[in-house]
């Protein structure tokens, strides 16, 4: 069972077998309102800790996302393209954003 770690911004990361899954906290999704669009990086993008890796858009507000650790993006949550609301409904499970090597 991997522990979920929280950044001092609004992201969490949960690491298992060298791969970290990144998402935003319940507090963050609540503050954002209904997410209507997720702007996520391409697979293979190299990120340093604290790098901006994308943004979540709710109606009329775009909120930046910051990488909790250094690594490379291995997967992005394809379900969010058609269903961005998953970030609000299930921010710790189905609403994950990216996976990265750590």
């Amino acid at each position: 069972l991997s522990a979920r770690k929280f950044t001092d911004k609004h992201e969490w990361i949960s690491v298992a077998n060298g791969i970290g899954t990144v998402g935003i906290t319940d507090f963050a999704q609540e503050a954002l309102g209904d997410v209507v669009y997720c702007s996520l990086p391409e697979i293979g993008t190299k990120l340093s800790k604290h790098d901006e890796f994308g943004a979540l858009e709710s109606v009329k507000a775009a909120s930046e996302l910051y990488s909790p650790l250094t690594g490379e993006v291995t997967e992005i949550n394809g379900a969010l393209a058609d269903n961005p609301g998953l970030v609000n409904k299930s921010c710790y499970q189905d609403g994950w954003l990216i996976k990265m090597t750590v």
Partner: protein
């Protein structure tokens, strides 16, 4: 209208921008009001980016006032939300704060208070959607925002004296058969404040809002003029301005959409109904299907066309270049050339 900021103002601004903790006699540390001397949309959006990235908003919040000139340029802003039409009669206000102090409602209430102080008879209020309505019905302001790690900005517009005719024709989408996951636009009736009270000007509104902001932040009612092209004052600003104009930013960030439509082409004695389906992602054509009658174009040529379009920009200029190049390697056959041109003209008109 380009005013040169005085040397004194430049000095103060550069100090403020570089060492925000430096104590200033007249600007108390609470806040700063800046007005752009430029009406260029890209330069002003670049200033927003610059302030967002470089200024320490913990000690000093900022109000940035600006307007955009009339020749219609397309710009993508970094905050969310829908399309806005701007000319000099539609002003912009950007409220910069730390992320913790991000408060759109408070900002809009400030604007309403300023307007009411100027013209007490105005019936204006803020809605849940962060719009400002005149006479309970007409939208005079819309809002968008960007939240960063530690800083945030909320910008909004104010319709003073914009050209409503151009506004509604420009905001109308010509595309039929376009599907995407974009948030549906909420149309609204609009009105200029000038129509309600012809004595009002954009300058008066900007000034009234600056005055209210100054009162609420307990600072001097002083507006510092800013030249958004000044690289000394704002290191890196010209790069930001350039980036905002690149195809990659303006069009290349477009979320996935698909077009499913019919080209109605009159060719010789017949009327052709050609079904076209395209999937476009990040401004590039991912999938392209053109339902031509069999042998209308030689199959080899058709497949060359589709292959070339796939992966290229959904852009009339790029497509024109592409099809012109392809035509050069075609046999000199007038019939073929005229069919090709007809089809390509229609395809380009879709973009």
């Amino acid at each position: 209208m380009v005013l040169q900021p005085s040397l004194k103002n430049c000095f103060r601004l550069s100090c403020v921008l570089r060492t925000p903790k430096a104590g200033f006699r007249s600007t108390a540390s609470g806040a700063l009001i800046i007005q752009s001397v430029s009406n260029d949309v890209y330069q002003n959006l670049a200033v927003e980016d610059w302030i967002h990235d470089h200024m320490d908003l913990e000690k000093r919040q900022v109000l940035f006032l600006w307007r955009k000139q009339k020749n219609i340029k397309l710009a993508r802003r970094r905050s969310g939300g829908g399309t806005v039409y701007h000319d000099l009669g539609n002003i912009n206000l950007t409220f910069f704060t730390t992320r913790k102090k991000y408060e759109r409602m408070e900002n809009l209430k400030l604007v309403v208070k300023a307007l009411k102080a100027l013209r007490p008879q105005l019936d204006i209020h803020v809605t849940d959607r962060y719009d400002i309505l005149l006479d309970r019905h007409y939208k005079i302001s819309g809002t968008a925002a960007k939240l960063g790690g530690t800083s945030a900005y909320h910008h909004c517009t104010l319709l003073c004296n914009a050209d409503k005719f151009v506004l509604s024709s420009v905001l109308k989408s010509p595309y039929k058969g376009l599907k995407s996951n974009a948030t549906p636009s909420v149309p609204a009736s609009v009105k200029n404040l000038f129509e309600e009270d012809p004595s009002l000007t954009s300058e008066m509104l900007l000034d009234a809002i600056a005055k209210e902001y100054a009162t609420q932040h307990q600072i001097d009612h002083h507006i510092t003029l800013l030249n958004p092209a000044d690289e000394t004052l704002l290191p890196g600003i010209n790069n930001k301005t350039k980036e905002l104009q690149t195809w990659e930013w303006v069009y290349g960030k477009t979320p996935k959409f698909s077009i499913s439509t019919c080209l109605n082409m009159a060719y010789k004695d017949s009327l052709l109904d050609i079904k076209v389906n395209m999937d476009v992602k990040h401004g590039r054509i991912e999938v392209c299907n053109i339902d031509l009658p069999e042998q209308w174009l030689p199959p080899a040529l058709y497949s060359k066309l589709v292959k070339s379009l796939t992966g290229s920009k959904f852009c009339p200029n790029e497509t024109t270049t592409l099809v012109t190049t392809l035509l050069r390697v075609c046999p000199q056959d007038d019939e073929l050339h005229s069919r090709w041109n007809l089809l390509c003209e229609n395809m380009i008109m879709l973009m």
